[in-house]
Symmetry: C2
Subunit: 190 residues, 2 copies
Amino acid sequence: MEALKQRILEDGLAIGTEIVKVDSFLNHQLDVAFIDLIGQEFKQRFGDIMPDKILTMEASGIPVACFAARHFNNIPVIFAKKGLPSTMNEGLYHARVKSFTKGILSEARVSQKYIQEGHKILIIDDFLAHGEAALGLISIVKQAKAEVLGLGAVIEKEFQGGGARVRDLGIRLESLAVIQKINDGVITFR
Amino acid sequence: MEALKQRILEDGLAIGTEIVKVDSFLNHQLDVAFIDLIGQEFKQRFGDIMPDKILTMEASGIPVACFAARHFNNIPVIFAKKGLPSTMNEGLYHARVKSFTKGILSEARVSQKYIQEGHKILIIDDFLAHGEAALGLISIVKQAKAEVLGLGAVIEKEFQGGGARVRDLGIRLESLAVIQKINDGVITFR
């Protein structure tokens, strides 16, 4: 997605060799009109599939998943929760997920009510780095005996290997911007 | 908002005297078309103000804030973060916030880059219970020497006092559904 690559180059901040900060428009401050275009792009890339629901990870996957859902006939979005609210006490699927940027291990949970056997699920997230969140979400869909139709990532950092891990599972991956390397503040796209 | 009250009665689950679960459409599984209507309602209620930005709390405030922003000419949304990503290291505003449903104390953070002196801010959140999150967000806006034009809550649990605390600060509050009490599984609206 050309407009996304341009936006990353203009407003993103490359740090060291591992991190690109896009918190001015994607994951702290949100440019909702732009994220809606991202949602539309996911619909184009996945135009041939008919998911029942979109699954994402809180928190920064939520805006992208919501705007994508608008373009998929307003199908429901489910976001996996990392905390454990007292209101969440019924049957849960869970997966242990390590956050790359926070460096902490957390438990992602989804209520069994909302993903059921046979559901066709599209997974959407903001970043695909080492693939921890993606693999956790895939595991949750498998626990439900539901089907992953595909995984859409806004930004894939190819050099961290998450994309390869997802494809190795036979899962179709669409990344809107693929970063090959980050070096001395310079971002190189594939 | 009549459609919201109906939806709470149909799909919500009242537990004890304190909790109403709306995770089938508002804060775990998301009905994006319905949340867009909620956003439209906020625009109607706050039709006379012109905020520069919308501020919300991760995670479940995000969808409501995003869809509200669409109806306010796509103004930016900022969500306060509860974790501390390694990518967030510059100047931060923070507020200590106790989650009613999770029972834990966390630190909400907003980058100083995104709220600045003189900004006019609309705060949006899914629930207003004891007011902890609301007061934390108000404190963050004040730290920035910015102005709170108003606070919009999807569901206010009036009996928990958060609404009174917000109004006592002289802040305009619009709650789309106000719950007066919860008793034996029965929800009474004001």
